[in-house]
Symmetry: D3
Subunit: 331 residues, 6 copies
């Protein structure tokens, strides 16, 4: 049986799979779990990151305001379902010289390593790149150097050092609505200087849901079968991009090696709250909670760039699905 590494999380938000559901993932019946107007100033709350924190949960949320400016706010929840999000945006401290100005920030991820929570996000610095900060309490946030040169998005750290190095996935992009996107892996000894960049996966025309671009989603989940990485894929229809998500497995010791990659999406935008909103047809995962005791996984994903959804699955079913339609075996 497939094991998830790490702690048990008995209070993981959860609903059992509905009767008759033939899919590996199923949606929370109370979706959207976070509405667009959860704070007075927000236009939308989506593409956000949550982690276990104390007896409950904490998170960093993308809260676009009513100027449609992209901002980050911290928040807390006792159960992962009901969230109290700060009305004030995060103000980073100790920013390196030259990075003090906050232009915009979006699509955060939160990764606990050792003693602190690292936040990576798409940070506006003469274009989008990967900002890095850390917090101990989700109240004080300390900014570090940007990891990479612009233009980059979807920087996702691994939850422990591998081979003595921090490891991050990212998706180099351009200045606009990027029409391409591969996932790369980079390494660092100190979270300041990064190198040893390696290519992980490209979009695939053979699997149209992920034919235009791909980008890592939640923090990789360590399992007995490898790192489980949920990632979004984009199809470019005549009426715009459609963001779905699937998953792959990376080698535990050398995560630049792909072990298996699912050809099918696990969840695509099909509900009204995923299909209708500021950007129609988007399901974009940024965080996952796991319970090593039961193999349960709860995925938070942005819906239509407007609200936040929650979906559930079991690690063994997810990995079985990856292997059943493994792209590496079909090529």
């Amino acid at each position: 049986m497939i094991q998830i590494a790490g702690k048990e999380l008995p209070n993981i938000p959860w609903e059992e799979k509905p009767q008759g559901c033939q899919n590996v993932l199923w949606r929370y019946s109370g979706n959207p779990v976070i509405p667009r107007d959860a704070i007075p100033t927000s236009n939308s709350i989506f593409n956000s990151a949550v982690v276990p924190f104390g007896d409950g949960f904490a998170g960093v949320f993308r809260c676009d305001n009513k100027a449609r400016q992209m901002r980050l706010n911290a928040g807390f929840s006792p159960d992962g379902i009901h969230w109290t999000i700060d009305h004030d945006t995060i103000k980073f401290k100790n920013s390196p010289e030259g990075l003090e100005h906050f232009d915009y920030g979006y699509d955060p991820r939160v990764c606990f390593i050792d003693d602190r929570y690292y936040i990576t996000w798409c940070n506006g610095y003469h274009g989008p790149t990967i900002g890095v900060a850390y917090t101990f309490d989700f109240k004080e946030f300390y900014q570090m150097e940007n990891a990479f040169l612009p233009y980059n998005r979807n920087g996702v750290m691994f939850p422990r050092k591998i081979g003595g190095e921090f490891v991050m996935l990212s998706r180099p992009s351009d200045t606009g609505h990027t029409a391409f996107g591969d996932i790369y892996l980079s390494r660092s000894r100190d979270l300041v200087y990064w190198g040893k960049h390696r290519h992980i996966i490209s979009p695939s025309e053979e699997y149209p849901w992920q034919s235009r671009k791909v980008g890592a989603g939640p923090i990789p989940i360590e399992t007995s079968e490898g790192w489980l990485v949920f990632y979004h894929g984009v199809l470019n229809s005549c009426n715009g991009f459609v963001y779905s998500f699937g998953a792959m497995l990376l080698d535990l010791e050398d995560p630049s090696k792909v072990l298996a990659r699912g050809g099918n999406y696990l969840l695509s935008p099909q509900t009204l709250y995923e299909c209708v909103g500021d950007v129609p047809n988007v399901a974009f995962p940024c965080a996952a909670l796991t319970d090593s005791a039961t193999g349960r996984i709860a995925i938070y994903y942005g819906c239509a760039d407007s609200v936040t959804g929650l979906a559930f699955g079991y690690v063994d079913e997810i990995i079985a699905e990856i292997r059943k339609n493994d792209m590496l075996k079909q090529i």
Copy 2:
């Protein structure tokens, strides 16, 4: 009174026009008649073709799977409403040398001529072109030569030879989300070699619903007034393509001659299932059933590239509408 050629079809799926409806076509109250998940592996089922078969109906369905790959599946129904679609995709037999590999297939049409059912579809062969096959039983399908060079879509055969030749409409296109599209007519003596290509209609900026491209829909319906051809038209808004459909009349003996062409659409995407889905704002007809006894017509059309809808009308009202707003008289 206008006559439809061909057999009576007393079991044609049907609902009477709702009270107060001022339009020529009206939607089935149980729409979508085929949901997106009618088979376990399907992402969506739409742009599909049905015909009378035995005591009931059979069809070839576009069933995109959860990799969003475009596939064709056969199906059967006793009443045209409740469908049993094969879980396995169609595997073509006797494919000509060089055409054995099935890359992708979509938007099928089915046309009964003489003793068999011909299927034409958009067949991936180094780009989209018109595939041709036939079946006697919707179980075994025999592939013939592609009708044309790439790049082409919406190949629609006439239901009988005209002047001793098979006749097909098609819409030459390009490799992507084609931004143009005229309807042409071609002829063949043997369904292998095609020629005598003639231009039928172009999009018209004067009639914006059909200003970007036009393409034939169901198999032309032989009536006492000419061939009744439903066709889709595309408007290019700032937020993408909108697919509606209307109709025209072609000369019975020389179908390259347009007798009348309706300036107004007959049905445009206005319901949630037509406006919301994998491709918003699409109503795309691929098949029609007719009852010569009553003049009833039932049209199957894809909705938002996600599900299949059904709409109804009377042949005389449809042709009256074409003539009332005949583009040929207004230019």
Copy 3:
């Protein structure tokens, strides 16, 4: 307290702000106030202009027909809610030589000055430009010279002469789905020759809801604080344009001077009828009614290029919001 100039309008359509609503504007509970099929020939009715007229109201409506041709129709209402729209399109009289042919017309505004109602609209004359006409009774419409050279849209007159000159805002554009758009102001002594063109505002990347283009909406409202101008702003997402609207204040005596400009939108497309339709995600205001006795403002706005919505607000709250997030103070 802020005063609106002009008459009292005790029968202004109105609903009180819902409990708990934290926004400055709120929607009419019966929205869409005008459905897409209010007349038999219409595909959609939106982006339309209404004014007090007699004991009730009159208006000029954009009624796209079922060829998706853009047409203008007059209409009347006793209460601003229930509208009777002429089934026949407006036929302009006395058109200047060379402008007799009506190609297309859309997005009308109606402005009462002195003794008559002026209509400005986007008039097709070898491309879109600003048509001008007047009526006394909304039955006979007399066409004047186009105000400007093509290509132009959203011509909006001020409701009185300023400095002895008629004044009009407009948004020069191009021949298609224009990707830019600033608001300019022009002056005329006779409504035939226009000049003294001045730039008013540009889109702003800092305020993404209005980062792509901006265009004036209803006739400017004279207040004790300046001319209150609602205007639409456009954000260009990867899936198309999103039209929201906000407001600014112009100097009463020299309206080419911007006094304040709100950084936040006042209303963005968030309901189904604003997000789903012929053009998803559009809220486009073209008219406002005001009651000087109470400071009430009722705004008519097009929804998804399909139907017409109605929203309400108080002038003092609106102007307070403009000043609270005044872009001029933040730059």
Copy 4:
């Protein structure tokens, strides 16, 4: 015989047609008549306007500097061949409030009416539009109101009032490398307010050299056959725009009426200095000198956006060529 209105110009720059030349226009053997580095600060000198002045000639020149900024400089010549161009750019005086800042200026025309020389040029004011100024001596230049709203280029005045009104041709455009362009005519009583805009000609796909856009060139030449207007036309090849020029005749009394329009170009870029330079393949006329005594016409045209060329022709041959291939007779 065809008469040119206006003065004799015995010192018009001139060379006889080379032996064997079968074209209506022929190039000056000393081309480029003005090199790109005629002043120390210039990157290029082209698309410039000259007129008879005193015993010789004066002009306004587009002198892009070595930052490639577009600037205007005055210049003088005794013979139209040898030019002394001011090293300093023109500084306009008496600019209307709000227009004082010179952003950029290019493609000037100079038109003598009554007692002064009017300069029109593409003036940067939140985008390109038509600037207007006048001078008596080519030393002091007085700026007036811009004629039109942005975005516009190639404003070309008629050399006398017609029906009591000033008349100007222009080519409305957009903010960039405009891919469209029609010629329109506007009228004014005072050079401040303009109106009565009429469409003159569009590009024509049937005549590919002028299939993408057209724009007026030199000041129209009054002849006994009508106003002779040279205009540039643009073909869009796979490797960019090609600017050639041809001519048309407008009605003397109502210049919004086109009497004849030549289907063939008169001169297209074929020499090295026309085909190689900052913008390859450009021949762009901005001025013409005429001698009523002989029917001689000397045309100054920009070459490859780098240097200035000179070409010669006879009015009767030019008009004969227009009529021989008159587009109005061929459609």
Copy 5:
């Protein structure tokens, strides 16, 4: 030693390879062999086809006129160097009903089979497609059915039937400056109906000179090693397309099989007359003469869409070069 099939051609135009030339092809020292103004009405003469005829040579020439309209003219030469081109364009006779109107024609090829010369060209019929005609004397030309549906270019026939069928290569395209282009092969029994379409080659990103599109050039040359097919390839630089040409070998009995394909170009635009002109950087071959006695090949190719060039080579050196850098062996 490699043999060319067919007749000896002792009067083939020829120059020996210059000393020190390391390339397989070399240019005629008198290039351009046909200037742009060889007839009074021509803007350019290029992309043209010549064949042995009588004691000398005849051809069909693309003669764009001074409206830049694309026209075809016949011509004759005693030596292949000095050409007399008809001043009048070709008027086709016996055109099938519906194809009588000549819209435009370009890039002709001429192929002798049995008793007549077949001309194929890009024929404007609601878009570009492959026109077919024949002549016995280059004076009377008889038009047949277009071979294919639009949109297509570069239709090139094989000089004899293969397997009892006529065979043609073509490059399906779109309506504009097509950014893609593969070579396909089609077959016909009667030159009216075509079928059995097979894909031959695609562009290759690995060989950038042919990375954007490829298209057949002269009539395939039958050799003892296979059909020698010269074809153009296009590289898309930041400043436009660059057309070079190379060659491949097809199987004699089944020409849908590629035996070898040269990775290097044989000739790319490097001279002034190839790099400067109406379309810079084009070398586009449309015809070749061969002498079976000596293995000499003379290639006519369009230069910069302006003039016609001539290049020479030996069949054995050309085929050796194909094999030395054979793409099929390197992949």
Copy 6:
């Protein structure tokens, strides 16, 4: 007087400024100093890097071959004028695992630090990024890790460590003909991991020659006034990109600080070999030689992506020109 740091170079290639030349830089009279066919397999040789080596000079050259594949070759010269370029391409040794495959390489720079010559180039690794290697003898080249994630170009190292760190300029880009480009600076302690990325300069619409993108050219030259950095700037005309070059000064101790930036270009493509070739209108500097004794600078720059040019200037005149038109003082 301004001093250049570093060694004297008495054999620097040199010609005195021509009489009458008013520009700061002047071209070598024997340009192109390296022709496109200097080796048998080359299509073009340009954008190349040279350094003093032994008694003469060595370099790394971009030698595109006749498949138009981008390759790097080493070469040697006794005088910097006459070059012997290896016929074989460089084969890198000791490539890190995963980087062994050479896909393509272009636009090299060579930088001597301490004891070896570092080569940086645009290295194809799932897109363009910055490759790094070193050599002692220009015979053996040892590859290191790529400096950055794709997509990046124009990586240019400083010739000594600053603050204990290696420093590199680069221009992040995208996958194609990038339409944007800023210069950034990054730092490294070990040439493996890079960080502390800072923005240096952006393109400027106010200075059109550098309005589209900018990128560093030769290795920065240490002077008593700061680091002298030549950089290319791109203007986007309607007919494509134009590459010119200018210069700026960076702070010696903190090179992320710009001290002065010249508004004018120093050299723009104006000669035939710069304007005509595989990519017209390109002057692209990649290397400079300096003589500290005399202040002479010799710049090697690619011409039209076809050949290599050489230009000369004096350091004091160049810096005086930067300061005379300093953009920082004019904004």
